[in-house]
Point group: C2
Chain length 328, copies 2
């Protein structure tokens, strides 16, 4: 029942533990000795203890990821990207989500630090900044996703979308589809959403269109969406397009529209963030983020561990379908 240790293997093989260690990790050993060791390994079903190993390395080979909502298509793509390069580098991914806790993930980050993860990828809010900074200072490369860091210390990187560009892309497309008055749904106070709003506002302004403050509504969860959309539509009857600034709310906003009997795009235009599996079928036009590549890059930053802070910005992409009407 008790697990075999390297000592047991050594005993069975009739060699020293040092020798066993060497054949396991590819040191110089005589063919014949190695064979004896492997036989013992087999017989005892020996599995080296990676935990003990990492004591010497000072850290584990695991990449930590703290995400606040796996449900969103963006994070799913991100995870796949991360997992992919982790796998290619014989790393595992240690995952913790925070969507239940208001605490914003400080606890998770602490735990990851205690686990001596090789690096950390975080998507949670600024409250965690301090912890992340200290981890980076302690030598663990950290990557912050979907948010840039002001004045980053050496090992604190970031991977983010050019949110203003995303906003502008939205404005351009809406305008080219003849929309004149947009209503916006944002979610919580994430900085990325500010960028998008600003980009949108600017893009609209360049075409002489306004985005008044009361055309922007923030919702905290899916339950609020229907009421928020309703209020927006009633308050501003001129609105001819609804823009959803976060992929997390796409379903809810879309349902809010259709369940009011509004036809998309005839009665109202609809534009949202993040491509998703059903979008082609539904004809929903989106601004796509390269979430998969972003995940890969984040993980690569961990693996390559550059000395300076690197801030990567990715370009959004308009994936035009039919939900805003005919373009041009």
């Amino acid at each position: 029942m008790k697990r075999a240790t390297i000592g047991d293997v050594a005993a069975v093989a009739g060699v020293s533990v040092a020798t066993v260690s060497r054949v396991l990790n590819g040191g110089a050993v005589k063919e014949a000795t190695a064979a004896k060791v492997w036989a013992a390994v087999d017989r005892l079903d020996y599995s080296p203890n990676a935990l003990t190993k990492s004591i010497f390395a000072g850290r584990s080979s695991t990449i930590g990821v703290v995400i606040d909502d796996l449900t969103s298509p963006f994070y799913l793509g991100l995870m796949r990207g991360i997992d992919e390069v982790a796998d290619a580098n014989d790393s595992l991914v240690m995952f913790a989500s925070t969507f239940r806790h208001a605490g914003s993930g400080a606890a998770q980050i602490r735990t990851m630090n205690e686990q001596r993860v090789r690096g950390l990828i975080v998507t949670t809010v600024e409250a965690t900044d301090d912890r992340t900074r200290r981890m980076a200072a302690g030598g663990t490369p950290c990557v912050v996703v979907a948010r840039s860091v002001q004045d980053p210390p050496p090992r604190l990187h970031s991977v983010a979308l050019d949110n203003r560009a995303a906003g502008r892309l939205m404005a351009e497309h809406l305008i080219s589809c003849g929309r004149r008055s947009v209503g916006v749904i944002t979610s919580g106070g994430r900085p990325s959403q500010h960028g998008r709003t600003e980009g949108l506002r600017q893009g609209l302004a360049e075409a002489g269109l306004e985005l008044p403050g009361d055309a922007v509504t923030s919702v905290d969860d899916n339950e609020q969406v229907s009421a928020a959309v309703g209020a927006l539509l009633e308050h501003r009857t001129s609105v001819d397009a609804i823009v959803c600034l976060t992929g997390r709310r796409t379903v809810a906003v879309h349902s809010a529209l259709t369940s009011r009997g509004l036809a998309i795009p005839d009665d109202i235009g609809f534009l949202t963030m993040d491509d998703f599996a059903w979008a082609p079928a539904l004809g929903v036009t989106v601004i796509g983020q390269p979430s998969h590549r972003m995940g890969q890059k984040a993980a690569e930053l961990i693996v390559e561990n550059p000395g300076e802070a690197v801030q990567l910005t990715f370009e959004p992409e308009l994936i035009a379908r039919t939900s805003c009407g005919e373009s041009g």
Copy 2:
């Protein structure tokens, strides 16, 4: 740059390492001493090494999860459930996916074993059976998801849907909607799909309806779906409903239908596995699995670590919407 160790803390606080260990883990220490220690911890930004700790416990406090496709709504729900109870038990989730590799996850399971995970949850195919059995034999509780294990050794549990019941539920609903000839899309050779097919066949048979072998088509990926659906429809012109036996293919099958100009449910009925966010909006009737509860249960089996093997079966639930037409 070098991390502080418990020894450093002891030195700064002017006490022994044992004392530091005690205040960190809640032993009996004098108020004043504890204060000194905490001060030192603070000053050095000390973070205890969880890896070293688990040497003594013999295993880490991490729950390992090997999943083959995070993209599927079922696995997402499962993950949430797992993460939830892991979190409640101060565990982290170590995640590895296998969807790139043909290798079916043997490597991932080995790594998890080396990481001395507290328990393992696997969703990959039978090829991994041996490894899982050995892990269980070695004392690590393992839970196999969506598949039952024949003749399970002590610590090898399973959490699965009653697939025959799911099939029967499908049959019942289709019949009550007046469908007489169904076409089936399955994916790969997963045993769960056999159960569903059998249940469906039985349920149909009880109503005097047949499910001939050529009405069942298996596809390996989304690219094959359109052709497969086309072939099925052309070969069996009587088909008035398409059943998709895996949530993983829902989008592709649905698109295959609509892109052929078929209206759901008027031209053809559509029924699939696993509820998903857009299903209400699309009116897609599904057989739901309690994926979230299944994840929770799987994680609880790890945490509670019962001596015998336990096999949990969950009941599927029909979530009737409009895609099969009017029922009754």
